[in-house]
């Protein structure tokens, strides 16, 4: 059996466990006939991403189908939340379509128009199209509400990227558990001049929580209990956090600099040949193999599902961006036509298969399991689908930004050796209780 066939069979196997297959028809067929919005200009405010540039390059096709012009306005990630806040405060209609990240959603529900009516009219089945971990990010009611506020457009799962050449040289297998990762890291450090695993414990937008969550879930702990009160300082939570910190502090399997690293620093550490592993979002693959940003060649970079706790399923923290329609927009119907067209799985697939770029982002279940897509990326998307199957998704509640700040400050303090795990988590829990009360 050829490798491609193996991937297709694997994909089908994973798919069978995810959802009943009701892959939708092409979205172009769902556009309103007769170009009723010809001449309308739809303004889109979006975060910068190569995927969106690729979408923009295809706009001529949409304009020919509908007569609607779409104008992209890009904003860097660091300024996106401020920009959305300004739109919400000003009740502005400047932009018709807005991009937002999952964890901001609960604070920004008032900014987005519910799409339920329009989706029903167009017979778009969101459940069939998207994995639940992504879909809940675009729902109100903290991910459980009845209103769909947007189309998941960009999203990530975490993978373990590793130096394939070093692993081969030392006869190592990709780590299946977090303990394996530590042991592999220690061995690599003893046999080469590389650091083991580039973790990131520094303080930047909650990035130091993204791997921590996997330790937490893997140990059977969680962020909050059923009453919405802190549960991360339970005995399991403390053990998980201790194990997470021990990679740096006790085992020293991470570079000392990881205490202040953010995600980009960690990826750079691998890309610049300083570290042998990094657990990170799959979209970072492009920068690990891009000669402009990396010293590594594609054949040196391997990937595997994120390690798990021994005997437990793989987990992943997820990240989801969605495109929704501005509640104050005067061109909602035209904006919906655009989103209908853009969410066509074929558009996502064409970007995935575009060999001029290494854009790995797939949101739609159909594309996650697509044989050609998996053949091009050596099965990366099957891993993604597998991880998404049981993914809990990001925490969705209005106080999350504050809670996230408290927790990332605690992790950063732990990494700098200022505190011990239990008192630090207890102190953070007291702060979180106060936040949840307010």
């Amino acid at each position: 059996m050829k490798r491609r066939n193996i991937l297709q069979v694997t994909a089908a196997g994973v798919g069978a466990g995810i959802a009943p297959w009701a892959f939708s028809q092409g979205s172009s067929a769902m556009l309103k006939p007769g170009k009723p919005y010809a001449g309308t200009e739809v303004n889109l405010l979006t975060v910068v991403a190569p995927q969106f540039k690729a979408h923009e390059a295809k706009l001529a096709e949409f304009e020919a189908l509908t007569g609607i012009k779409v104008k992209y306005q890009y904003v860097p990630f660091g300024s996106t939340r401020e920009k959305l806040t300004a739109e919400l405060v000003g009740a502005s209609a400047q932009y018709d379509v807005l991009s937002a990240m999952d964890v901001w959603g609960p604070s920004l529900y008032n900014l987005f128009e519910p799409l339920n009516g329009m989706l029903a009219e167009k017979k778009i089945d969101m459940q069939a199209r998207y994995p639940n971990a992504h879909l809940r990010a675009a729902r109100d009611g903290n991910g459980n509400g009845k209103n769909v506020l947007g189309f998941p457009i960009r999203g990530h799962v975490q993978l373990m990227f590793y130096r394939k050449d070093i692993f081969n040289q030392l006869g190592l297998k990709p780590p299946a558990t977090w303990n394996d990762m530590v042991e592999a890291g220690k061995l690599i450090q003893s046999k080469t001049n590389l650091s083991g695993v580039a973790m990131y414990y520094g303080k930047t937008g909650g990035q130091n929580l993204m791997i921590w969550f996997n330790y937490l879930w893997g140990m059977g702990a969680d962020l909050l209990d059923a009453k919405g009160q802190p549960a991360f300082n339970s005995p399991a939570g403390i053990a998980a956090t201790q194990a997470y910190m021990d990679v740096l502090i006790k085992h020293k399997a991470a570079p000392a600099a990881a205490a202040s690293f953010n995600e980009t620093d960690a990826v750079n550490s691998v890309a610049q040949g300083k570290s042998a592993m990094v657990p990170v979002w799959w979209w970072r693959y492009a920068s690990l193999v891009d000669p402009k940003t990396s010293t590594l060649k594609p054949e040196q970079v391997g990937f595997a599902p994120l390690p798990s706790m021994p005997g437990k399923d793989n987990t992943t923290y997820t990240n989801t961006w969605f495109y929704g329609i501005n509640k104050n927009s005067k061109k909602k119907a035209a904006a919906m036509e655009f989103l209908t067209w853009l969410s066509d799985p074929e558009i996502e697939r064409s970007v995935l298969l575009d060999k001029s770029m290494n854009e790995v982002v797939a949101m739609q279940t159909k594309n996650l399991l697509d044989g050609d897509v998996n053949a091009r990326y050596n099965g990366m998307h099957v891993y993604g689908a597998q991880a998404l199957k049981g993914a809990k998704g990001t925490p969705l509640f209005a106080q999350w930004p504050q809670v996230s700040d408290v927790l990332e400050a605690a992790i950063s303090e732990l990494a700098s050796g200022q505190k011990q795990v239990k008192p630090a988590l207890d102190e953070a829990a007291a702060k979180v209780r106060r936040i949840m009360r307010a």
Binding site: R81, L108, G202, K203, P255, A257, A259, Q272, E413
Partner: protein, 298 residues
């Protein structure tokens, strides 16, 4: 004729001419200031409502001053930052100004180059310093390791004290050159006759500085100190890009705290109240500045 002229004088022509500028200032400065002051007395959590909610009196201010340990921690951090930042900026600027006050081609070139750090974006300075101090490939980290081998393995941005030092260093690097130019202006305005007379009377260089130059330069130094305090109180971009307020909250200043309340937590009323407390501190400093400036003019 006289009656006509008097009538013209009574016409508020000057107000008509000033009106566009006044309207512009009102729209761009007074309205936002007034609106945000009103907001500080209202409850407005963007996650709950898209328009300002009820008036809550002074409760935002009361919560800040009685029930928010992070606010006081941010105040403490701000105090540490301002003290170190202002003192170091003054010392560096004064030293550089004294070195550059003599005329000469090299000094003229150096003075011209002083403007370069000042025109750089604070956000860019923060990012650059983050690279400089990176423990794997940072050039400054490497140089410090060569000069002080004991610090070879120091992770600057993972240590609370060193992170604060990094922020102070980046801010001094940004502002000291500009302040040097201001002090150079002050030095140029001191009559050279008194200094020459002191030298003729046998005073040493240090005595000339202490007894002749420094007393005459003091008003300028005071203005520089007040201005730098105001700028340090507002400092945000460098901190945001260099440390994100970390490790922990060890470099989270009041300006950063205000940003978080508004743009991370979407609590506009609370953010406005915190911003007004920051503004009150700035107004006090501005008052000092005006008194010093007027005293100088008198």
């Amino acid at each position: 004729m006289r009656a006509e002229s008097s009538q013209l004088r009574r016409l508020p022509v000057h107000w008509v001419l000033l009106a566009p500028a006044l309207l512009f200032v009102a729209a761009m400065a007074l309205f936002p200031l007034g609106y945000s002051l009103l907001l500080s007395f209202r409850e407005w959590k963007l996650a709950r409502r898209s328009s300002p909610g009820d008036f809550v009196g002074f409760s935002n201010y009361i919560n800040l001053l009685t029930d928010d340990p992070e606010f006081f921690e941010a105040l403490r951090v701000t105090g540490v930052f301002i003290t170190a930042d202002v003192l170091l900026t003054l010392v560096v600027a004064l030293g550089a100004a004294l070195l550059l006050q003599k005329t000469g081609r090299l000094n003229t070139l150096a003075r011209t180059m002083l403007i370069l750090p000042f025109v750089m974006s604070p956000a860019l300075i923060g990012i650059s310093f983050r690279f400089f101090l990176n423990a794997e490939y940072g050039v400054v980290h490497h140089l410090i390791g060569l000069l002080i081998p004991a610090m070879k393995d120091t992770v600057w941005l993972a240590d609370a004290t060193l992170s604060m030092a990094a922020i102070v260093a980046s801010d001094v690097w940004h502002w000291a050159p500009y302040m040097t130019l201001v002090i150079l202006g002050g030095l140029a305005s001191i009559p050279t006759e008194t200094q020459e007379a002191a030298r003729i009377d046998g005073a040493s260089g240090f005595q000339v500085f202490r007894d002749i130059t420094w007393p005459q330069l003091l008003p300028v130094v005071a203005v520089v100190a007040v201005l730098k305090t105001v700028f340090a109180l507002k400092a945000f971009d460098t901190i945001y890009t260099l440390t994100n307020g970390g490790p922990g909250n060890s470099t989270k200043t009041l300006a950063y705290f205000v940003y978080e309340q508004g743009f991370s937590y979407y609590d506009m009323g609370y953010a406005a109240a915190a911003a007004y407390l920051l503004t009150a501190a700035l107004l006090v400093m501005a008052g000092f500045y005006l008194r010093l400036a007027f005293a100088k003019n008198r």
